[in-house]
């Protein structure tokens, strides 16, 4: 049986196509999920793709969080289903309280779009098994609200529990606290990160690197071996 990985489309989602493509290139069966449909169509994992769901009205991710599809995703994520939130997807995950903290406007107020170097801090989660801790990767970054914020106690907790999965290298692009680019929940099945692995899965496009592909192959291996 093939592993099915769903990608949610909200009104305003932009990177669902690229995410579906990344899932396929990793060897899983991509499944489109619609925001108004509570049914996850027997997927084994879910990707919340980047974009500007609901126009970022109110706060980025705030309205998407209450969509019918999220009800099921929140419930299943708590039960251990792997969920990857990229950029706007990360914002949805914090608004849904599946991940702690919140996203704020970049400290310099500019939209940023560039190649970003990251260090893999923890390769123990469902989406990071094909990396090694300490590995440096480079994938595209593009956002307006990427400044990860949480109170000091939460940050200390995340560090102590190894839940900071990715950190920015060679300059913090948005003022995120402690250079945090991505974090996981305590169980490691939910990962949120600002940069875009789905845009770095083929040598032909972007900067010619495929540093983003291991996100998708990691979860596939994890699901197949489960």
């Amino acid at each position: 049986m093939t592993t099915r990985i769903g990608v949610v489309t909200f009104p305003g989602t932009l990177d669902d196509r690229d995410s579906l493509r990344a899932v396929r290139l990793a060897g899983a069966e991509p499944v489109s999920l619609w925001h108004r449909d509570k049914d996850l169509h027997q997927v084994d994992a879910v990707v919340l793709a980047g974009g500007f769901s609901y126009g970022d009205y109110l706060r980025a991710g705030a309205i998407s969080r209450f969509s019918p599809v999220m009800e099921t995703i929140i419930e299943q994520a708590k039960g251990g289903m792997p969920v990857l939130g990229i950029c706007n997807g990360f914002q949805v995950l914090t608004e849904a309280h599946l991940l702690p903290g919140a996203m704020l406007r970049n400290n310099h107020l500019h939209f940023i779009c560039r190649e970003q170097k990251l260090r893999v801090e923890n390769a123990g989660g469902a989406w990071t098994g094909d990396y090694e801790a300490g590995q440096e990767i480079s994938i595209p970054l593009k956002n307006m609200d990427g400044r990860y914020t949480a109170d000091e106690r939460t940050l200390d907790e995340l560090e102590a529990e190894g839940r900071v999965a990715f950190r920015y290298l060679d300059g913090n692009p948005n003022g995120s606290l402690r250079d945090i680019a991505g974090i996981t929940n305590a169980a490691g099945n939910v990962l949120g990160l600002m940069p875009h692995p789905e845009h770095a899965v083929e040598p032909l496009i972007g900067t010619g690197r495929t540093d983003g592909l291991p996100f998708f192959t990691s979860v596939l291996k994890k699901l197949v071996s489960a």
């Binding site: 705030a62 209450f66 608004e95 702690p100 704020l104 406007r105 400290n107 107020l109 914020t149 949480a150």
Partner: protein, 86 residues
Amino acid sequence: MARVVVDVMLKPEILDPQGQAVQRALPRLGFDGIADVRQGKRFELEVEGPVDQAALDRIHKMAETFLANTVIEDFTVCLETEKAEA
């Protein structure tokens, strides 16, 4: 219909670059004497029926779960009383 106003502000410890940008623009425009600006959101809710304690409690809940993100924002709920237009 009664109006309830919910004001949402970033918590004092959260950096507000938008407010800073507004503050920095003021002297250039000839508006001096403003030491700091913080930018927030105001929601005006037209409430059906009487605004009793139960209604205010519901609005408080609404603000807490949706209108504000209490990780980064504080909010106040205020019943707007009839006042003469200035």
